[in-house]
């Protein structure tokens, strides 16, 4: 189906089902229960899952296939956001031109930075991309926001003001980003018993694009082009002596991943019309690297899992506070309750970084292939239990999935 083999089709269908049903899947706990804290099915976080999913899928096309580790990919996300907000400011709140423009700008930046950075490989390449991104961040934060030439609005972030031209903005249209009139914030809440589920227009726009982008990345993985990219990672010497010019292949991958990042940046602006310079900082670039490695570099689904993992912890764990803990353990005797809360206290709320750091270490120590390997191990365990041992398959290489 769609030019994919059976396994890939299954994977795509699974991802599509997960994306469409996310409002249900991510809200497993009744709204008023103590565990509702772990619900992630609210519009902002669902949008973030989809947007960072797109970002990391694109990053994985570069890093997972070619092995070129870019430490500056957040720059493309940042310029994508700025591009989209500028479209909002100058022309219209409709997200379609904004998103298209952010992809184009992402591509242009990626072409320029990639063209220079790909002259080097390995860590030298990483540092070149880092340097470009850090320069973009520094300039966006201060120099490009000076009153005479305010391109980025610095620390505050670029936003839409009432006195902006917005040439094609009609009075009947929402005063927020919209898709041909459908506000990105439009939300329908469904209550089923004790549960509440949110269906958000912005999320479904992001999710639809995530699926398209996931599908495209699948096609790229399985294409001759994808094979060439893996060849770059595997053996550049053999590649050149096979009559292949590695540079344009790597550059193409770089630009494609830059476009994915630009798209993600555009979507961030589309669901929340503000573009801040911090999203270009090296920590943001580092975050996408961590997402890819954590999930499983070079696999199709892994990076998305990594993105979900990190965003989940950032948004859910940082909001758990002592009060919440006391709520959970209220059934215990007082002394024990306080004791457990005291034990957990360093890991939640302001300590969510600590939890994340520990999890990074645990995953990379015990699951060298990232979260995907965890899934595979569980799958294998399951298969062994059911008696189907395909040992012969184990010796063969399974293509990246």
């Amino acid at each position: 189906m769609l030019g994919l083999n059976g396994r890939d089709t299954t994977l795509l269908v699974i991802v599509a089902a997960l994306a469409l049903l996310a409002p249900f899947i991510l809200n497993p706990f009744p709204t008023d229960s103590g565990l509702a804290q772990f619900n992630a099915g609210y519009p902002d976080l669902m949008q973030r899952f989809a947007i960072f999913g797109i970002f990391v899928i694109g990053f994985n096309i570069l890093f997972g296939l070619t092995g070129y580790l870019s430490f500056g990919h957040a720059a493309f996300l940042g310029v994508g956001s700025y591009a989209a907000v500028w479209i909002f400011k100058l022309f219209t709140y409709n997200v379609v031109p904004a998103i298209l423009f952010s992809v184009v700008i992402g591509a242009i930046f990626a072409l320029a930075i990639g063209f220079i950075s790909l002259r080097r490989s390995g860590i030298y390449f990483s540092i070149l991309t880092l340097a470009f991104a850090q320069m973009s961040f520094a300039l966006a934060y201060s120099v490009l926001s000076n009153p005479k030439f305010n391109l980025t609005n610095g620390e505050t972030g670029l936003q839409v003001y009432a006195d902006d031209p917005q040439m094609f903005h009609g009075d009947h249209l929402p005063n927020l980003p919209h898709l041909f009139g459908l506000s990105m914030r439009a939300n329908y809440e469904m209550s089923v018993g004790a549960w509440d589920f949110n269906f958000n227009a912005g999320y479904y726009v992001c999710a639809a694009l995530l699926l398209i982008m996931f599908y495209l990345s699948m096609r790229i993985f399985r294409s001759p082009f994808g094979m060439m990219l893996r060849a770059i990672k595997s053996n550049q010497t053999r590649m050149t002596y096979t009559g292949l010019n590695a540079r344009p292949y790597a550059l193409a991958a770089f630009v494609i991943s830059g476009m994915y990042a630009g798209l993600a940046g555009g979507l961030m602006a589309a669901v929340d019309p503000l573009a801040g310079a911090e999203r270009m900082q090296w920590t943001a670039s580092g975050e996408v690297v961590l997402m890819a490695i954590l999930g499983g570099t070079g696999t199709l689904i892994g990076p998305i899992l990594g993105a979900g993992f990190i965003k989940y912890f950032e948004n859910i764990f940082s909001k758990i506070n002592d009060n919440v803990l006391h709520g959970w353990f209220a059934f215990l005797p007082d002394g024990l309750e306080d004791f457990i809360v005291a034990i957990l206290h360093p890991f939640i709320g302001k300590g969510w970084h600590l939890t994340l750091g520990i999890l990074f270490m645990l995953v990379v120590i015990f699951l060298p292939g990232g979260l995907v390997e965890g899934g595979q191990r569980i799958g294998r365990l399951f298969r062994r239990k059911s008696g189907k041992d395909d040992a012969e398959k184990a010796t063969q290489s399974t293509p990246a999935e």
């Binding site: 294409s223 096979t242 293509p399």
Partner: protein
């Protein structure tokens, strides 16, 4: 005029004369070996031939065209394939994929975006790759992770990858270095078979005299960066200068 003409090539590294006035002509469809003691300049010469090193002076012509100043991938596209001392294959890829890449390179050139086509649908390429693996007796290993194979298999695969491009000249750099005797003999047989079956010129740089004398039709002896003699294997065996410079020490 041979298919490969090396004329007056000089290369210095600092104070060291790595190549001095090298003249060499490789006849089309011959097997030509270049031998010489360690430090004779064999590897330097090879690197000049494949565009990795630029000589200080002189010219290298392949089929009448200069290879100098061209990138290695351009030289390959002219019809020169190279086999390395340690097999250079795509270790992360399967054997079949390894075989497909040179076929793509031959068909699509140095760069072509085919990002949305599916490799599985490239029937022609798959067929060719399959045939090549068949002829290498590796068809059963097509889904193996190529890095996990034995060195002999890797060598076999590498040679196959070169041949899949139908090169006019195959350059081999000590193809049997570090191999067990059985693997060495297999490789010799493979090369013989290739030469018998195809219109191909083979230039081989080799240390192992057993390999050289089993394969070569002409031999150039390099010593201290310059060709000492060039002749048929029989003549070389008996040549006093060669014995003195080379064989005498290692016999």
């Amino acid at each position: 005029m041979g298919i490969l003409e090396v004329k007056n090539v000089n290369k210095r590294f600092g104070g060291l004369q790595a190549l001095g006035d090298v003249n060499l002509s490789v006849e089309e469809n011959s097997v030509h070996a270049i031998i010489g003691p360690n430090g004779a300049g064999k590897s330097t010469l090879l690197n000049v031939l494949i565009g990795k090193l630029a000589p200080d002076t002189g010219s290298v012509l392949f089929d009448g065209q200069s290879v100098l100043g061209r990138k290695p991938y351009e030289i390959n596209q002219m019809g020169i394939s190279r086999v390395f001392q340690t097999p250079e294959i795509f270790g992360d890829l399967t054997v079949l994929e390894n075989m497909m890449i040179p076929i793509f390179a031959k068909r699509d050139g140095a760069f072509r975006m085919r990002a949305l086509e599916s490799s599985v649908n490239e029937k022609e390429v798959l067929e060719q790759a399959g045939e090549m693996l068949e002829s290498l007796n590796m068809a059963d290993k097509r889904h193996f992770h190529s890095a996990s194979m034995s060195r002999g298999d890797k060598r076999r695969l590498e040679i196959g990858m070169c041949l899949a491009q139908n090169p006019r000249l195959l350059l081999l750099d000590e193809p049997t270095a570090g191999m067990a005797r059985a693997d060495t003999n297999n490789t010799i047989d493979l090369l013989k078979q290739i030469h018998d079956e195809r219109d191909i010129t083979i230039a081989i740089i080799e240390h192992d005299m057993h390999v050289v004398f089993s394969l070569a039709q002409r031999i150039t002896v390099l010593a201290q960066g310059s060709p000492l003699v060039e002749d048929t294997p029989d003549k070389i065996k008996g040549h006093p200068k060669v014995r003195e410079a080379y064989l005498g020490e290692s016999a």
